[in-house]
Symmetry: C2
Subunit: 337 residues, 2 copies
């Protein structure tokens, strides 16, 4: 199916279809220079499947993991484009997860002040979340997403078949974001998580999540207001993720933890059950000062006050301005098992 | 006077007024964290005049010259913003020439995916040209403006008083761009250059040049068509500027040379007289292979064909697609004295 993102001049289509990678050229204009950016954790065969459909193609493989979202790698992608004589009319295609999409999207936005960018996300997390919405970024000095651009792809191809090779923990990582979206915006999706077999409902989970994100992004492309609901669970989640000693945790795992303090008690009980079903952590013991420090380097901070998103009832949300200290106290009281 | 740039959501005002730097806070919102980016060639007193109007201010000084438009300096500006806890609601102010404006504008566009950017250009070249239009960039591997963003400032303050300290050669450097704009778009401005004392007509030259640029940028913000007329003289000009052994020449000096092959013979004679009056070079002996190589790394290239702008009659222009080789032959025939 096709989901149309309606963003004026920046509009684009998301194609969700099993096997779409194999026929990418029906959807993408590959009749020009193509830079495929992928990472060492993605099966080679994915980039190759795309490469075989291109006339003139360069494959750039970064090391899997968050450390590749660096200024240095950003420079290397730009240099690769330059060395291979890419013009303003050529394009970049991301074949990988959020790291690859964020890095190569930012490079595409900057190269000659913007060349076409396509995204073929290969993880569940990037299929339902980071591949759409146009947020690209790199990290700096250990702080996530310090520099980047709002830059919309020209098209996104989502092939759920690609998830067959995805490790179980990466799957859970993506499910966490789907649960997040269900909690603020889609009661039925949350009930699906509670009642149904998740694997056999994967396409539905992807499509419902995309539709939630579509609706939010269309109303608030540049993240000035409503889009904050997508940050549900992220204030504490980013703090956990950014704090040095927590580098072993995945983004979704951190967000899952970060959601719990933001839910009303009865909702929280239901969330805990769903997280259990998805093999996600439900509690955390840690040095909260370090998490607090990392959390509030976060860009959503304005002075000492942050806007948090609370879920009092499944499928709805409340935004509230609180101090950083209050967020940490809340997180500590819930997560310190 | 105020020139309003009408670019929809990205609209902004350019204030042209002698002494406006001293009362910048009447025009800019300085009641927040402010990063002033300046360079070692700009009188200290300029950044200080602005700093004294801020509550919370950091001054970042880069080395004067094109080498500061690097990925490394881009990273350092971002790191400075991060280390001083700048949020999305704070701002960056450029106090300097095109290098400072391009570098800090790109950093402002990228930091947290975009914070407010003000520009206070201190050279004639940046006052009439690079400070408006929203093109920001850095260089890479010796190639100019490889990476950047279209990012409009929130306001531009143009204080012609600041030009009093500008070296004569820098003045000529700016006049070259004004002559360029006159040639394609303003016959009267060109006649002013031919007949009047330039120094005593400086404010008029600035304002007329800004109005030409305003009109072009408003019609073509993202440089898809019409904006190419601003590139008159730049295809060859960039080639001269980018070729390694020519690093001694200023941008405007290169553009002045680059315009000559693009003018019809009788127009060229008039241009040569005006360039002489402004102390700009009129001829060049050089290794044309190197210039050709540098010229066609240029982003306006598409395959082997480039669009050049020709002036057959003062105040009008013609766009023409020619091969790279034809451009070089034309340049050689005119410039090799």
């Amino acid at each position: 199916m096709t989901i149309h993102m309606d963003l004026g001049l920046d509009s684009y289509d998301i194609i969700v279809e099993r096997g779409v990678l194999e026929k990418a050229k029906e959807h993408l204009n590959l009749d020009r220079r193509v830079l495929i950016v992928t990472d060492s954790g993605v099966p080679d065969s994915y980039a190759k499947a795309l490469e075989s459909q291109c006339k003139e193609c360069v494959v750039f493989t970064v090391k899997a993991g968050e450390t590749s979202k660096s200024l240095e790698m950003f420079g290397q992608v730009l240099q690769t484009l330059l060395e291979h004589g890419f013009s303003r009319k050529d394009c970049v295609v991301a074949v990988g997860g959020g790291v690859v999409g964020d890095l190569s999207g930012f490079a595409a936005s900057a190269y000659m002040r913007g060349i076409d960018f396509y995204n073929i996300p290969t993880t569940l997390l990037s299929q339902i979340d980071s591949s759409i919405g146009g947020k690209t970024a790199i990290n700096l000095c250990g702080v996530k997403n310090v520099a980047g651009a709002f830059y919309q792809p020209k098209k996104v191809l989502i092939d759920p078949e690609l998830l067959k090779t995805l490790p179980e923990r990466q799957m859970a990582n993506g499910l966490a974001e789907a649960i997040k979206m269900a909690l603020t915006s889609d009661k039925e999706l949350f009930e699906l998580f509670e009642k149904e077999n998740i694997e056999s409902h994967l396409d539905e989970i992807i499509i419902r999540s995309l539709n939630i994100k579509k609706s939010v992004v269309e109303q608030d492309e540049k993240e000035t207001g409503l889009r904050r609901i997508l940050n549900f669970g992220h204030t504490v989640g980013h703090g956990i993720e950014s704090s040095e000693e927590m580098t072993g945790l995945f983004h979704g795992e951190c967000v899952a933890l970060g959601m719990l303090p933001m839910c009303k008690e009865d909702v929280r009980e239901r969330v805990i059950n769903v997280l259990k079903k998805c093999n996600l952590y439900r509690e955390l013991e840690y040095d909260w000062n370090k998490i607090a420090e990392a959390a509030f380097h976060d860009k959503k901070t304005e002075g000492d006050v942050v806007t948090i998103v609370l879920v009092n009832e499944v499928g709805s949300y409340e935004m509230k301005k609180v101090t950083c200290q209050e967020v940490i106290e809340l997180a500590k009281s819930v997560l310190k098992g």
